[in-house]
Symmetry: C2
Subunit: 345 residues, 2 copies
């Protein structure tokens, strides 16, 4: 398994996801500043992986500080990391756990305890992704053609993957005839990362542009859509990569089930609905340039929301490590979030 985030003795090692698939390069980070920068510039991406990387970033901050300033250094690291990206809630959930350790722990033991908690966050994501993969695979009919968007694989989750984990597990069970990956503009996580992971896992894979989803739903048989999530509100509204909502509408119009696979760390019970989820607007050069080359004409306004919100009414089921939830989602989400130990902000 490729590790997108790893703790190596005394520092964090990240797989630089911006260079894939051309290059599989790892970067060693020894300061919290560098981890924050890596989250912001998407060296590491994917909601669960961001949470794990941030937790290790807090450890680095504690490690670098002398004992007198350690508590302050940790508090400031948490603020710094929380400001990197606004949409994925796993980031805030992981940081909140680190904050609780800092608050309750003897300062002498702080580095060790923070590392233990960060490792626990990481291990929980790992076991959650294994459970999600197994449960998600049960949703696949025999000979399924499945469509996914963006990348919810092992490199996005620092584990086995959520949506991609389910596809790979269903394929292992002989149930997948083909996976269709959308390229996922602007940053092409589908073309670069999802295709790379699926092909390595031996899954028969087809790459299409985002604009082809409707055409293939109408002219080919697609059995299900499965995607990850960056934040799920208490009512089941799902924030995920821009383009997810369009696919959900198309799935509904064609009678295709639309599944979301995400760990309970993605659930934010503090938000009643998706309307309150902050949508990150990223740099417009991601749209106007590709691989460093300007492709668009000069345009006075370019928009680049990184995520959109899919209303719960379009979601057939949400696959968490604690079970498959179906509409109405409110009660089910409350149950899985509560049993998770109050991770919400």
């Amino acid at each position: 398994m490729t590790h997108s985030v790893e703790w190596c003795e005394d520092h964090v090692r990240l797989l630089d996801q911006r260079l894939l698939p051309q290059e599989e390069r790892y970067v060693d980070l020894r300061t919290c500043d560098k981890v924050a920068a890596a989250i912001r510039d998407m060296t590491v991406r994917g909601a669960p992986a961001i949470g794990v990387a941030a937790a290790y970033g807090v450890v680095l901050a504690a490690q670098c500080a002398d004992s007198a300033s350690r508590t302050d250094a940790v508090a400031s690291a948490i603020s710094q990391l929380a400001a990197t990206r606004p949409t994925a809630v796993n980031l805030f959930a992981a940081l909140e756990r680190m904050r609780c350790v800092q608050r309750d722990c003897d300062p002498q033991l702080l580095v060790g305890e923070l590392l233990r908690e960060a490792r626990t966050v990481h291990e929980e994501e790992l076991s959650a992704s294994m459970a999600i993969s197994s449960l998600g695979a049960t949703l696949f009919p025999a000979g399924a053609t499945v469509l996914t968007h963006c990348n919810a694989g092992m490199i996005a989750t620092a584990a086995h993957g959520t949506a991609l984990g389910a596809i790979v597990e269903a394929h292992r069970q002989g149930k997948v005839s083909r996976a269709i990956a959308t390229e996922t503009r602007p940053l092409l996580q589908g073309a670069r990362l999802t295709v790379w992971e699926l092909v390595r896992a031996g899954v028969p894979t087809t790459l299409i542009t985002d604009s082809m989803v409707g055409h293939f739903m109408r002219t080919s048989h697609i059995d299900l859509v499965i995607v990850g999530a960056d934040r799920i509100a208490a009512n089941g509204d799902v924030a995920n990569k821009i383009g997810t909502y369009s696919i959900a509408v198309l799935a509904r119009a064609h009678g295709v089930p639309f599944y979301v696979a995400a760990p309970t760390s993605t659930v934010d019970m503090s938000l009643r609905s998706g309307a309150a989820i902050e949508i990150e607007e990223r740099n417009t050069t991601e749209v106007t340039s590709i691989a460093g080359i300007r492709v668009a004409a000069e345009c006075p306004e370019v928009r680049n929301p990184a995520f959109d919100v899919t209303p719960h009414r379009l979601v057939t089921a949400i696959v968490t490590e604690r079970g498959i939830l179906r509409s109405p989602f409110t009660r089910g989400l409350k149950g899985v979030a509560a049993s998770h130990g109050g991770r919400s902000r």
Copy 2:
């Protein structure tokens, strides 16, 4: 006005649309072979512009041949040009007109008569696009936000444009507050060409990726969608750039009117429905590479249909130079196609 296709004394001049917006370069073509290659490699693109270029290509074939072989040369040029691209019907309609001239004309006068017919095809596209622009503009409410896909502008039509012509005319009348252009993967005709044309025309323009359409329909007010067409079947089914169908489904789901603007040369009464329209599948490198740089991971299957079919039930109205047609389309299309003088194949 920028001319995408022009007859210059004794040869064809094309604007190389592949180089826009970085470079505005014109190429002078003096053989039919070169015109056929330019259509195939999309130096010239857009259904009406392809038809005009092909008509001039036939003239070049006649001009290059000696008088003994002229008739054969014209017949073989028509076959060659017909094999360049399968979806846009304007190509076949223009070639059929050239074939009729060849059949009925004294071989001594053939070059002149073919040129006269090609010029007529060109002028008819020009006046059709003017009429479509005026009629299309009547569909815009005051202060409209309009979304368009791909490029149905002056460079696609060898004239004023169809969908873009209507947007520019409505803007001239003070009715457009904003135009949203989708980038239109894989070849980015929206980002490269539509943005370039709209900004030059002074229209406030926003560029988005194809995957953002649903998000903006849900979160912003969009008053109408207007697109061009590559072929319209007798029942009103519309073949247009890949991604059009997805936008039509999204428009319906959000109660946004979906208009198609196209000259009657785009109507193919020989096809009962869109199911019979041949969809061109282009080279997969258009998907896997951008600006010559490989962006996608190695993938065993990549799909690249250049067009999709939008069923007539999703089309609010079709704007032709002979009037605005509304559902059911069959009778209206029969009327405008008949009055056009039997252009169908």
